[in-house]
C-alpha cells in the first residue's frame, strides 16, 4: 500500500496547498448534497406512519450524530498519529475538528430532544443513545478545554493527543456501559430511529444529507486547519510567499 499521500499531508505546506484546491470542492459538493437531502426529506419524502411529520427531523439528527462519532474517531486517530509518528499536522487536525465535532454533537442532542417531545411526550429521556451522545459532547468539551488552558504549544499538543487517544479507547466502554445501564433501568420501549426497514424514499435523502454533512464538515475543517497552519508556520518562507504573492 502506497502511504506517500499520507506522509505528504503531514507537511504543513503541502497540506495548505492541497486544501486550497479541495476545500472549495468539498464545500460545494457538501452543501449541494445536504440541501438536496434536506429539501427532499422535508418536502418530498413520506411521513412516518407512526410519528407523522416529526420524523423529518431524522434528516438532521442522524447525519449530525454520525458526524459527531466520526469526528471523535478522527480525533482519536489523530492523537495516536501525533504521539507515535509525531506528525506536525495531527495536533492541527485535533484543534480544528474538536469544536466542529462538539457542534455536531450539540445539534444531535438538541434535535433529538426536540424530536422526543412529540414522540415520547418529554423533552429529554435518559435513554442509551441520547445519553451516549451527551457523554460524547462532554468529551469534546474536555478536549477543547484542555487545549485552551495550556499556553505552551508543545505541551498543549501532547496533552490534547493523549486525551483524544484515551477518549477513543474509552468510547466503546462508555457506550457499552450506558447500554447496559439503560437495559437495567428502562423498559426499552422507544428508540430514536426505529425504522428497521426504511423505505428507499426515506433512506436516500438520509444518505444524501449524511454525505453532504461530511463534505461540509470536511471543508470547514480544512479551512480551520489552514488557519492553524498559518498561525504555527508564520515564520517560514513559504507562508510569506503565499500571503505576499498570492494574497490568497
Amino acid at each position: 500500500m502506497n502511504w506517500i499521500w499520507f506522509h505528504k499531508l503531514g507537511s504543513p505546506k503541502w497540506f495548505f496547498q492541497w486544501a486550497n484546491k479541495w476545500s472549495k470542492f468539498a464545500f460545494v459538493i457538501g452543501v449541494l448534497m445536504l440541501s438536496i437531502g434536506i429539501v427532499w426529506g422535508l418536502g418530498f419524502a413520506p411521513a412516518d406512519y407512526q410519528q407523522g411529520n416529526s420524523f423529518r427531523i431524522i434528516y438532521i439528527h442522524v447525519p449530525t450524530a454520525i458526524l459527531a462519532q466520526s469526528c471523535y474517531l478522527g480525533l482519536g486517530v489523530a492523537g495516536l498519529v501525533s504521539l507515535v509518528w509525531r506528525m506536525k499536522m495531527a495536533p492541527v487536525f485535533i484543534k480544528a475538528v474538536a469544536p466542529l465535532g462538539a457542534v455536531m454533537a450539540l445539534i444531535a442532542l438538541l434535535s433529538g430532544a426536540i424530536w422526543g417531545k412529540p414522540t415520547w411526550g418529554a423533552w429529554w429521556v435518559w435513554d442509551a443513545r441520547l445519553t451516549s451522545v451527551l457523554i460524547l459532547f462532554l468529551l469534546y468539551m474536555g478536549v477543547i478545554a484542555i487545549q485552551n488552558s495550556l499556553d505552551d504549544l508543545q505541551l498543549a499538543d501532547k496533552a490534547v493527543a493523549v486525551i483524544s487517544v484515551v477518549g477513543l479507547i474509552n468510547l466503546p466502554i462508555i457506550k457499552y456501559s450506558v447500554e447496559w445501564w439503560n437495559t437495567l433501568h428502562q423498559p426499552a420501549t422507544f428508540s430514536v430511529t426505529e425504522a428497521p426497514a426504511m423505505p428507499m424514499a426515506m433512506w436516500l435523502p438520509l444518505l444524501l444529507s449524511t454525505l453532504g454533512m461530511y463534505g461540509f464538515i470536511a471543508a470547514v475543517a480544512m479551512w480551520r486547519m489552514q488557519t492553524e497552519v498559518l498561525i504555527r508556520e508564520h515564520r517560514s518562507n513559504w507562508v510569506k510567499k503565499e500571503i505576499l504573492d498570492n494574497g490568497i
Binding site: I38, L42, G43, F44, A45, P46, A47, G52, N53, S54, R56, I57, I60, H61, T64, P99, L100, V103, L106, I107, L110, S111, I114, W115, K117, P118, F216, V220, W223, R224, Q226, T227, L230, I231, H234, V239, K240, I243, L244, G247, I248
Partner: protein, 58 residues
C-alpha cells in the same frame, strides 16, 4: 410532493414548531461554524500580511 399545500408544509400537521425549530437551530449553528471559520482564516491572513509588510519596511 408529500404535502398538498404550502400551509400543510409549514404546519407539518401539528409538528410544525418542532420540525422547524430543529432545522432553524441546526442551520444557524452550521452557518455560524462556517462563518466563524472563514472569518478566522481571513483575519489571520490579514494579520500576517500586515506583519510581513511591516517587517519588510523595517
Amino acid at each position: 410532493m408529500a404535502f398538498e399545500s404550502i400551509n400543510e408544509f409549514i404546519s407539518m400537521g401539528t409538528h410544525g414548531p418542532y420540525v422547524w425549530s430543529v432545522y432553524g437551530i441546526s442551520l444557524i449553528l452550521l452557518f455560524g461554524s462556517y462563518l466563524s471559520s472563514v472569518k478566522a482564516k481571513k483575519n489571520q491572513i490579514k494579520r500576517l500580511k500586515q506583519r510581513y509588510l511591516r517587517e519588510q519596511k523595517s
